[in-house]
Subunit: 387 residues, 2 copies
């Protein structure tokens, strides 16, 4: 029995693994050589490798997160060595979490040497974390927990999934906490804020440095089909007449579930909502008609596009001019990068909100429509909550 | 702006997504056609598809979980249609969760149309769930939560990861619960019991039918390098003189962390440990020297191999003959499949334990060394705990 050979005749080694997987399970990937990928170097350069001896062209693909030559998914070629291993070194990169994949003769594949992934609603990327950040590194501080949670949806039918961050001390404690609902973008799923977004680590670090109050962060699945969608139910849900069935699920099912199943404070000053891109629009559309329930609203790289602004304004007129509800809104926060294609959308929305007596805060950052900014925005937004 | 075109001139649609991802982020995978894979059919046949028009050979690879012709990783060929999409239909399969990948001209890749994955310590598989099981389907019952938890390891240095299942009602409640520590195998990582193993759903269903007591299930990372290993620390840890550094981490760091940070009962009758394959060996090696702390011990498809049994027996002689500790062991449970290559190992261990006055229970199941059995074993073992 091959799996025990190393142990034979060595009493101390008997403490070792007693029974391993069969040969077939140990090498399911066939003849791939034992290469390391990604290799994150101390100077923050990253080497990506893929063993594809028979391929004629291999490229590194990213969804726009890696800055410089890789911005906006511009592919970067890998070169083949004598052993048939393709390789490229990029950087030094800013500290960050980066999604990537390889295109091997046109076939897009994740890095089979890297167990870390960041799924979206429709596909999956490999994930590499380049450390060096004060605010999102995995540091030696008390850590919260990020849970995968399944809840019943009367709106969409079946069982849906969300992710929930609980702060350090929650699981053994008795305190109640405020809640931030944090929504993802089109190219994401309910775990994106916890993989590429590193929301849990950001909160851990902010809480450890007393920069933010301990809070729950609830990360729903904003798509109504796909990874976090209703399981065991029709993919598009029962509420297909509603333009965005997720909004009904959020208000009717998800938020009440959280408030029943977690020790959270349920008054307005202890409830916040924010989202990026698609999720920023959803946050606006959830909060406006229920402004009496949210004291903090964050819109990351998003807003109401100019060509629908008039219609949106008419639709939400009563809420936009509800002076009583407006008074309890402690923060209306926007963040958009100078190079972001939604800048006009954000500016349109800022003007619209000001016209109706709101006092939005706007952070115009460097950069574009990517996770570098969304992690930053969370680290700027969260410290202002629940004060 | 392409992303808002669908909304123009339509007031109702203004409720829709306000700002989507840029084109580059929406179609990072280039020219792949919109195919569905995997497609789980009502009769439990599953169709796998991959778009690879230029490939000459595509196979389905599994680590031995899919029964029949796919047992033990025997590859199954896909055939190409006129559109360059390769396809194979397998089954009807038993209800289950199956890991798989494609080999495209020898390059092993996950299914890019499937966001669901099951990472191991060294690589990542796609995951398909074939429903139809009373005990591990995602059913309309109260659900617990499965959290990713980071804890400091004085033994290995740095921060390590585990997964923790908390039963329905935990997060808002005040009760204390018993704990099952549940260890994975060589070809796994700390999330494997929650992905391919479906441990959380199994416990949800057992608790809902009053077949098992509500409990925490703590799922450590049994490898000391790789996905769940110490982060920011030397890959092999500081305790490399120890034959299996994980054992020290478990006893010194992980278990005390759980007992401090969760509302768990810490007396012996409320502590259980079990594991599969490598994890079964680790469970034996953790429990034997600390038998006064565990009332239940489960060994799934594992044991002490015959060629090291004498050395192991000598090493643990004092513990094997500790009558006082033995008295409080309420269950010593073994499960191994008739076709499993570790059957001799299990039988050797049963004989050894009986020789020293233990009364092991042995379930000799059908099948081999795979997750079909390990899910079954958990569903047989958990109901016997904490009675």
């Amino acid at each position: 029995m091959q799996h025990t050979r190393r142990l034979a005749g060595c009493a101390a080694a008997a403490l070792l693994i007693l029974s391993a997987a069969p040969p077939a399970a140990q090498t399911p990937r066939g003849s791939q050589p034992a290469i390391t990928s990604p290799e994150v170097r101390p100077d923050r350069r990253v080497t990506f490798r893929v063993a594809a001896p028979d391929a004629t062209k291999v490229e590194l693909r990213t969804p726009g997160d890696i800055p410089g030559s890789l911005e906006r998914g511009v592919p970067m070629p890998l070169t083949k060595n004598a052993q048939g291993v393709w390789e490229v070194t990029v950087g030094p990169l800013p500290a960050g979490a980066y999604r990537y994949a390889f295109a091997v003769d046109g076939l897009t594949v994740v890095d089979s040497r890297n167990p870390a992934t960041s799924p979206t609603n429709l596909t999956v990327y490999s994930l590499v974390v380049v450390p060096g950040s004060e605010f999102f590194d995995t540091r030696a501080v008390p850590h919260g927990a990020v849970a995968s949670v399944h809840y019943p949806s009367t709106t969409l039918g079946g069982v849906r999934r969300m992710h929930v961050y609980t702060p350090p001390g929650y699981e053994a404690g008795r305190d109640r906490y405020p809640v931030l609902y944090l929504l993802h973008g089109t190219g994401d799923a309910d775990q994106s804020w916890s993989t590429v977004g590193r929301a849990g680590f950001i909160l851990d670090n902010l809480v450890a440095s007393h920069s933010a109050k301990p809070m729950l962060v609830v990360m729903p699945a904003g798509h109504v089909n796909g990874a976090g969608a209703a399981l065991g139910a029709p993919a598009s849900g029962a509420a297909s007449q509603d333009p965005d069935p997720f909004l009904g699920d959020f208000v009717t099912d998800l938020m009440p579930y959280v408030e029943k199943h977690y020790r959270v404070m349920t008054d307005r000053p202890n409830r916040a909502i924010a989202g990026l891109s698609m999720g920023g629009g959803q946050a606006l559309n959830i909060a406006l008609p229920h402004l009496d329930r949210f004291a903090y609203l964050g819109v990351f790289s998003s807003g109401v596009p100019a060509n629908v602004a008039d219609a949106w304004e008419r639709q939400h007129l009563a809420e936009l001019d509800d002076a009583a509800a407006k008074r309890g809104l402690k923060l209306l926060w926007f963040g958009t990068g100078k190079d972001d294609f939604v800048m006009d959308t954000t500016r349109t929305t800022l003007a619209l909100m000001k016209k109706h007596g709101f006092s939005p805060v706007f952070v115009e950052s460097e950069g574009g429509h990517n996770w570098m900014n969304w992690r930053d925005y969370l680290s700027l937004f969260a410290p202002q909550l629940f004060r």
